[in-house]
């Protein structure tokens, strides 16, 4: 069974290590915060100007001045700190943020990513994504493996306007986990019940399949 959004978020959460500063994009990446391993200490950076993002507020306690990059009401935690947008992207560019998790419409076998524009159809803008992918040391993408018509979104080259070049390190899709290497996508884990064959057929970019591909344990 392919992973649902929560499954993808849970799997990505296992990549987060103790002591990391992490930036979570809008959508599935935001869910990752709910499934972080027990006992580790992680600081979430929200690029609109907060380090130490806490959970959503209790009903009735929301504060219009306190939101995350997805414009959702949030809370602080002990040790949180606010700053302006220039410093926020300053720390991103200076690679002080250890891990960036964001969504994608397409990823190429060279690690290019497209997630901000569909010409003639949708132009919401890149927000902070271009800054994040151009700067981050470690980028994990959360995405659907195929579009609704069944076409692979892991491609030899992106067809949509790029967000960044050669930057994605790892992909967790509904079908599996993939490292992005100089040789192409490397299949690291299969989603529960998903066969190697299904993944091969669903992947248009160059895919390297090791002899033994373990099934994911969530």
């Amino acid at each position: 069974m392919a992973l649902d959004k929560i499954g993808i978020a849970k799997r990505i959460a296992r990549e987060v290590k103790d002591g990391m500063y992490v930036n979570l994009g809008i959508g599935i990446p935001t869910l990752v915060a709910n499934y972080l391993p027990q006992g580790i200490e992680v600081e979430l950076q929200s690029e609109n100007g907060l380090l130490g993002m806490g959970p959503f507020p209790w009903d009735g306690e929301e504060d219009a001045d306190l939101i995350n990059a997805g414009k959702q009401t949030i809370t602080t935690l002990p040790g949180s700190v606010f700053f302006d947008s220039a410093m926020s992207f300053g720390m991103i560019r200076a690679q002080k943020v250890d891990l960036t998790i964001l969504g994608a419409m397409e990823v190429s076998e060279r690690g290019d990513i497209a997630n901000w524009k569909v010409p003639g159809k949708m132009v919401k803008g890149m927000g902070g994504a271009m800054d994040l992918v151009a700067s981050a040391k470690n980028i994990i993408v959360a995405m659907q493996h195929c579009d609704k018509a069944g076409n692979s979104k892991l491609l030899p080259a992106c067809t949509l306007p790029l967000t960044g070049v050669g930057c994605v390190k790892k992909i967790v899709s509904d079908l599996g986990v993939f490292d992005v290497t100089p040789d192409g996508f490397v299949l690291v884990e299969r989603a529960p019940g998903v066969s190697v064959e299904e993944i091969v057929q669903s992947t248009k970019g160059k895919l390297i399949v090791p002899n033994d591909v373990p099934e994911m344990v969530i």
Partner: protein, 234 residues
């Protein structure tokens, strides 16, 4: 620049903002936007504006109000989702839009406020954002040269301010506000609470008053929430 900066309201503060000017407008989404100044621009009904602002508000609030009235000629923003009228005007070609990576937008404001004519950022290298821009390699990595913004007015919102223009922001409503305040040729700050000099701790002030030309205490803040997201008590 006069140190005597206090004006009575948005109308007085915005009296010489005219059609076809370039305005910076603080805020992220609807968080920390200068509500009073935006209302005044609607009332004045000036047009042909170029707005530098991270977002374009929503259909019926924030900069969306200016879009509804066709007062905006060009938006320079990083993210314009959640605004149907905006998308319609943009796709139909009525509205000119320049999309700028969020960190680039912030840093181009800061550059203006810090007297730096240009900055280098890796954001957008290899993408359509890089078209026509100078690419330069430092230490093996490519960067785009981006220019400091030039704006006639900056309209910003702070939590507290004093008569000398010193500003304190609250939580994530800080965002672009201090940066745009630094960048405006004329900077107008509206605050929830205007206090006497000496009231604010000099170590707590986020934006020194030297950057602020006019300040007033705003009224009737709605502070609308764009995405109310809560946990419900079980």
């Amino acid at each position: 620049m006069p140190i005597h900066k206090v004006v009575s309201n948005a109308e007085e503060a915005c009296k010489d903002i005219q059609s076809n000017m370039t305005l910076m407008v603080g805020g992220f989404g609807l968080c920390g936007i200068p509500e009073n100044c935006i209302s005044e621009l609607v009332r004045k009904n000036i047009t042909g504006l170029t707005c530098i602002s991270n977002n374009a508000g929503v259909d019926d609030f924030g900069l969306g109000l200016l879009l509804q009235g066709r007062q905006v000629k060009k938006m320079i923003s990083s993210y314009v989702g959640e605004n149907a009228e905006f998308e319609r005007q943009m796709l139909s070609g009525e509205l000119e839009v320049e999309l700028v990576p969020q960190g680039t937008l912030a840093t181009r404001c800061m550059a203006a406020g810090y007297g730096m004519p240009a900055i280098y950022t890796p954001a957008g290298v290899g993408t359509e954002v890089a078209l026509g821009k100078e690419v330069r390699n430092f230490n093996g990595k490519d960067y785009l040269m981006e220019f400091a913004f030039d704006s006639d007015f900056a309209l910003v919102k702070a939590w507290k301010g004093d008569h000398k223009g010193n500003l304190i922001f609250r939580a994530t409503s800080r965002n672009f506000n201090p940066l745009m305040a630094m960048a405006g040729k004329i900077t107008i700050a509206e605050v929830e609470e205007l206090v006497e000099p000496g009231t604010l701790d000099p170590d707590h002030i986020h934006l020194p008053g030297i950057y602020v030309h006019r300040i007033f205490q705003g009224v009737n803040y709605e502070k609308r929430i764009e995405q109310r997201t809560v946990r419900t008590r079980s």
